[in-house]
């Protein structure tokens, strides 16, 4: 292993908000290998979305460095690096421009990065839509009137159009109904296999993590408090906060409840106050 695929090296990010400095990320280091699905777990205010934003180049770290295949990532980056790192957002309703057709939204990436012959791009869009399970005639439709699941599939097709290497998924299914979520998670897993993608999967849902992730990093209040393989974390979480997160999850079966209540035993759910 010569160099890490994605590495976050001692990154701190502070924002100025209402005249005060707020530390969103505090001296965080993470290493992500090519091809893995790395879950970033945390509640609101944990800094998990800030981490995604730094990798995408929405802001500059206050200190520390983000490297992608050995190359330092900053806010201003060449088109080639933008293309390699794509994002799937949480809210599929706002992620598509309702004044542009589905086809225009997907095709944008092809035009920007000059992918395929110009005359061939219509067919490429149809192929991308097919890959996410949508009929080709969706290209001519407006996103208005499409369901959340359909919109999220289109957003995935748009990201795939860039032929990326790393996908940052920021709560990609938490706005979806549970039956739709199951389909979209399956789709994301299939796409990762077929394209050999690396995922940074940002979520608050530990049950989803169990099914999708190879490794997990747990964040709380801007700090990385625990990292390990998914199996390790679920077998023996080291930090009390991780146990508390696991213990708080509502479950739907006796077996699942037994699994969870191992963590619950040591935690008084009421102990923490706002």
């Amino acid at each position: 292993m010569s160099e890490m695929f994605l590495s976050v090296e001692r990154v701190t990010k502070r924002f100025r908000s209402a005249g005060r400095d707020v530390t969103a990320l505090d001296d965080v280091s993470i290493a992500v290998e090519r091809g893995e699905c790395h879950a970033i777990i945390g509640e609101s205010g944990s800094g998990k979305s800030t981490l995604g934003g730094l990798i995408l180049g929405l802001y500059e770290p206050t200190s520390g460095l983000v490297r992608f295949k050995g190359e330092a990532l900053s806010k201003r980056r060449p088109l080639r690096l933008k293309r390699a790192i794509q994002l799937i957002q949480q809210n599929p309703l706002s992620a598509l421009n309702s004044r542009r057709t589905v086809g225009q939204s997907v095709r944008l990436a092809l035009d920007v990065h000059n992918i395929g012959e110009r005359s061939h791009r219509g067919a490429l869009v149809a192929k991308l839509l097919g890959e996410v399970g949508l009929p080709a005639d969706y290209a001519g439709r407006s996103p208005q009137g499409l369901s959340g699941g359909e919109r999220q599939r289109i957003a995935i097709a748009r990201a795939l159009a860039c032929e990326p290497e790393l996908l940052v998924l920021d709560e990609p299914t938490s706005a979806l109904d549970v039956l739709v979520q199951a389909r979209v998670l399956q789709l994301l897993a299939r796409i990762r296999r077929q394209h050999g993608l690396t995922y940074l999967f940002i979520t608050h849902d530990l049950a989803v993590v169990r099914g999708v992730a190879d490794r997990v990093s747990v964040f709380q209040k801007g700090r990385l408090i625990e990292t390990g393989s998914t199996d390790e974390i679920f077998a023996a979480p080291q930090d009390v906060y991780t146990r508390r997160l696991l213990a708080a999850i509502p479950v739907v079966s006796e077996e699942e409840a037994k699994f969870r209540d191992r963590f619950r035993a040591e935690i008084d759910v009421e102990e923490a106050e706002d």
Partner: protein, 282 residues
């Protein structure tokens, strides 16, 4: 709970009596201006020469709204004045809107330094009372319809800059803008293909209302002698000229003034109706 139907906005518009009134008035004025040559009973009266045998004639079957002091048909002159007013309004808005929209898009999308600089510039223009600015421009140059239009344009674009700035700031928070950025789209694409189309309904609504206001300002200026000069038919100067002959030749003032009222009200009601329709759609 939302339901998708063909166009709830249009349905709201159709059920809105004031909006329909506005549409009717605007259609009336626009048709009159477009087909002035066909409608006007005495097209030659748009120029300097009238019929000296019928000076200051009362409204009658022959002269629907009467004639002026040199015998020109008032109805004809109002129709041609509408044509001039609409032309002026269109030219003013066609120049002011793009300037304002581009300034607003840039100020709303770019970083705080840019938005500060551009919006303070806008504030400077907004802080000068419109008529004063217009008077000083036409004061430096010589009063004419063209200079009047320049003056109005100079004071009109900041309103579009401010409107577009606020719309852009809101749109910038939407996920589709972030998506275009992560895909690597260029600045012009993000501004004009992604954000601008979402601002257009509000901008078009404002333009509709502003047609009326531009005509009102232009008329005020020519009323003060700063706009179109004789013999061009202009509603503002017609009111001013007629005022000297009140109350004997009342029609010389009353009908041009009513003509201004109709056009300003028409565009205002129409614009309000469009705004409500756009709100329903949202």
């Amino acid at each position: 709970m939302t339901f998708i139907s063909e166009s709830p906005g249009w349905r709201a518009f159709r059920r809105n009596p004031t909006a329909l009134t506005g549409l009717a008035l605007v259609t009336l004025v626009v048709c009159a201006a477009l087909f002035a040559d066909l409608i006007a009973p005495y097209p030659s009266h748009a120029g300097p020469v009238g019929d000296f045998t019928a000076m200051s004639a009362q409204p009658s079957g022959q002269y629907l709204l009467g004639t002026d002091t040199i015998g020109r048909d008032l109805f004809t002159r109002i129709i041609y004045a509408y044509r001039l007013s609409l032309e002026m309004a269109i030219v003013v808005l066609a120049i002011a809107t793009p300037i304002g929209v581009v300034v607003g898009l840039l100020a709303g999308y770019l970083g705080p330094a840019w938005s500060y600089a551009l919006m303070r510039l806008t504030d400077v223009f907004l802080s000068i009372p419109p008529l004063v600015l217009a008077m000083s421009i036409t004061g430096f140059l010589e009063p004419s319809a063209i200079h009047g239009m320049m003056a109005i344009t100079a004071m009109w674009w900041p309103w579009y800059a401010r409107l577009t700035y606020n719309l852009t700031r809101a749109e910038k928070q939407e996920g589709y803008v972030l998506a275009a950025e992560t895909v690597g789209a260029s600045l012009p694409h993000i501004l004009f293909r992604e954000i601008l189309p979402n601002c257009m309904p509000a901008i078009l609504t404002k333009m509709t209302i502003d047609v009326g206001f531009v005509i009102l300002i232009a008329s005020s200026m020519s009323f003060l002698g700063l706009g179109a000069q004789a013999p061009t038919p202009d509603l503002g100067s017609m009111v001013a000229d007629g005022a000297k002959y009140m109350p004997d030749s009342w029609w010389l003032t009353v009908f041009p003034a009513l003509a201004i009222l109709i056009v300003v009200m028409g565009f205002n009601l129409l614009g309000d109706g469009l705004r409500e329709a756009a709100d329903v759609r949202r």
